[in-house]
Amino acid sequence: MDPKTVETFHSITPFLFWLIAIPTGVCAIATVVAQNIVRAATWLLFTLAGTSALFFLLGADLVGATQLLVYVGGTLVLVVFGVMLTAQGPFISMKTSGAEWAISVVAGTLLFAVIATAVMSEQVTIGAPRLKQGPRFKLGGTAEVTPDVKKFAPEFSRAEREKHAIRLGLKKEGGPPQLKGVVVPGGKGGGPPKGVGVAPKVPPKQDAKKDAAANDSPKGAGKGLPPQGQAPVLVDFDGPGGRPPVLAAPPNEEFALDPATSPQAAVLGQGFLGVGVGPAHAKGTYLLTPRKLTTLKEVAGVPASVVTKLEPLTGHPLTREMFAKELSIILTEDERRFYQKKVMEEAGQVVRASYLLPFEIVSVHLLVVLIGAAYLARAKRRRGAVS
């Protein structure tokens, strides 16, 4: 992929976000400030529609459409019906006193504080709590990326490669559909595979400790690894695209990619299913995104033996299309669905673990606000027509 395209593709999203978010925010303020109830409902309509547009921008089409159907098409219409049917005169407006304003500002600020605290305190990094220190991929230097892994694995049959994958824990026998990793040991006799740009290095001693720790994993995925000092292995995903960008390197080694010269590196920086399979302990398939790093193996339920921290190339968010594109290159349809489900489950766990308390606080707060609003609405006040 042309790195330039990637750049363009990604950076249009923030622009669209602000394009939608700013008017939505303005409309939200207008909803609160408006004194005429039906006008407030109209502003609320714009706010809710803007929120659903944000959902669409996030790629959550179903949520966006549901937002439109339930809130705009349903609730809001009901509200306006109610207002019209119970109105005593034309164009009711509510005159609010200064004290009421003060109370509502306090209530609103409290709500905002709770939500903001919840959002800022816990970064939504799926699988992040389990991250440990590991080898570091540093972007920006130079390294070579093997363009075509198929070239290096002609002498192995599919069954053989699959056996290797199972041995390395990239695939479970008879288990759920996992990443169809097919592992190909490098050049015979300990030499590096021909054409691999990164030379194999004997890992330092400290890695042996990590290896042992990794092998503590309950499912024993780390067992049966190639012994230390062996040549790096390549992982060929053998996907429908046939030519996934694959990175082969000893992961205990700091190595770097130059986005200027290597298109794969640019893709890597933007979010890419990178692969790092090393001689001793390092295995795993890394889903590299600017803000988080998840090993797909971990997502798939296989305990990760090595987790790395990756520095993002840019701050651009990974978009849904990019994600889907990368996944569809490498994964089959079944696998893709499986991982999407897994990611969702992980997200659900994060939400349950981190957001339950703020959610409860907010719900109680909303209840109080609702009662307060009902009180305000029922209180005797001057009603007058708006010109």
């Binding site: 042309d2 395209t5 750049e7 363009t8 593709f9 950076s11 249009i12 923030p14 622009f15 602000w18 005429n36 039906v38 006008r39 109209t42 309509l45 529609a49 089409d61 179903l62 966006g64 459409a65 549901t66 439109l68 159907l69 705009v72 098409g73 349903g74 809001l76 219409v77 306006v80 019906f81 019209m84 034309p90 164009f91 701050g315 651009h316 708006v386």
Partner: protein
């Protein structure tokens, strides 16, 4: 963040803008054509000619002239109206109807946004149109308009329920809410169209179309248009451009609901020919692909001639089908008498809603039965054959009826001279009279 905000290449916006302009253009042209067609159809059904003068023989430019007239009309906002709501109402209605076109596919991959839940999105967006109607009625500051708005809103909200239930029937058959995917499923012969899949989808089409007409405020549910009795209900206070916008919204949603009907029931852009896949994909296999360089960008885009040609045919077929259904709506409007509002609501709640529930249940049972009863899988042949035979007979009857003299073919129509005890002028005249 700010330096990232405008860091993209603006060329990336161009496809989106072009797509939006094309869709808006289509909406405008479609509305202009529909209004002209409506007048011609109304004229013909009432034994008139309709517009004949403006723009040549058929009055082609009549709508354009009307539009010009509306644009230069005085823009009146009643003193008692809520200025903001009065102004904003028509645009909300228009946006509700226009935004539905975003996910409406006109051909194989000829769609602005290929959304997985496209059908759901369309129903959701079109349900926001009712909010515009309410605001129009409420903001006018007139009790007359308010009552009209409430009437229309109640009607539209009620009819959305059986409409959505009916549209679920082909969804169960198709197993998808992606409009493109559903259309591509029916790209074979006419018997692969979902309307012929089983008796429930067949019935669901007619029920859906009835509900769709009602939710577009079309006859016989067109109380908004009851100028003789109700003086146009919710948009009484509107004139000029805003009135035009309200009408654009109505005609826009007419084509949108027709588009849903075509994609879910009537084969999408398929011609009904026994091809084994979509026309554009079929042609693609025999024509070469050219890499066309993009302007202002150093990349190329592969364009296949057959794919483009096939899709041109697809789009033409789709639009023709859509306009045909719009024509049927007009045909119904100018043929059937108008219902009262209580009759409108009764039709929905006492008849269409139970019918749609039964259809939804029936199609589920049918799908279940298809696993066990082999005959069920071939039922669409029978249904298709019977329907086509019925259609042929209908056309035959229409043609022969039109040619037959009154009193011979059409029951209830007698010549004046034939009536017993008639003696007066017009003896032997060819004018018929309803008995």
């Amino acid at each position: 963040v700010p330096h990232l905000l405008f860091a993209f290449e603006y060329i990336a916006l161009v496809p989106g803008i072009i797509g939006a302009l094309v869709l808006i253009g289509f909406l405008l042209v479609s509305a202009i054509f529909s209004v002209w067609l409506e007048r011609k159809v109304a004229g013909r059904i009432q034994d008139r000619l309709g517009p004949t003068r403006v723009g040549g023989k058929f009055g082609w430019l009549q709508t354009l002239a009307d539009g010009m007239k509306l644009l230069v009309k005085e823009d009146v906002i009643p003193a008692s109206a809520d200025q903001m709501l009065f102004r904003v109402g028509p645009y909300i209605a228009l946006i509700g109807s226009f935004a539905a076109y975003l996910v409406l596919p006109f051909g194989n991959q000829v769609v602005a946004l290929n959304v997985n839940v496209g059908l759901f999105y369309m129903l959701a967006v079109m349900s926001t149109e009712v909010f515009g109607i309410i605001l129009i009625g409420y903001g006018s500051g007139s009790k007359w308009s308010l009552f009209g708005g409430m009437r229309e809103a109640a009607q539209m909200v009620s009819y959305e329920i059986p409409m959505a239930l009916c549209i679920l029937v082909p969804v169960i058959v198709a197993g998808s809410m992606n409009l493109s995917a559903v259309a591509m499923q029916q790209s074979g012969g006419i018997w692969t169209w979902h309307i012929f899949h089983d008796p429930f989808t067949f019935a669901a089409f007619w029920t859906y179309f009835t509900c769709a007409m009602a939710s577009c405020k079309r006859a016989p549910f067109d109380l908004a248009e009851a100028e003789s009795e109700l003086v146009a209900g919710f948009h009484t206070e509107y004139s000029g451009f805003r009135w035009l916008v309200i009408f654009m919204a109505e005609y826009g949603s007419m084509f949108a609901v027709s588009g849903i009907a075509i994609i879910m029931f009537l084969g999408g852009w398929s011609l009904g020919l026994p091809l084994d896949r979509d026309l554009s994909e079929l042609l693609m296999t025999v024509t070469p692909t050219f890499n066309v360089p993009l302007p202002f960008a150093d990349s190329t885009v592969p364009i296949n001639l057959g794919f483009v040609l096939g899709n041109v045919v697809n789009v033409v077929v789709f639009i023709a089908k859509g306009w045909f259904l719009v024509f049927v709506m007009m045909w119904v409007r100018w043929t059937l008498p108008r219902l009262r509002i209580d009759q409108v609501m009764m039709t929905c709640l006492k008849y269409l809603l139970p019918i749609s529930c039964v259809l939804l249940m029936g199609v589920s049972v049918w799908r279940l039965g298809a696993m066990y009863v082999p005959f069920v899988n071939y039922f669409h042949w029978l249904l298709c054959l019977v329907s086509l035979a019925a259609l042929a007979y209908l056309i035959f009857r229409i043609v022969t009826l039109a040619k037959a003299p009154p009193g011979t073919a059409m029951p209830g129509v007698r010549r004046l001279a034939d009536l017993p005890g008639y003696s007066g002028p017009g003896q032997g005249a060819q004018t018929g009279a309803m008995s």
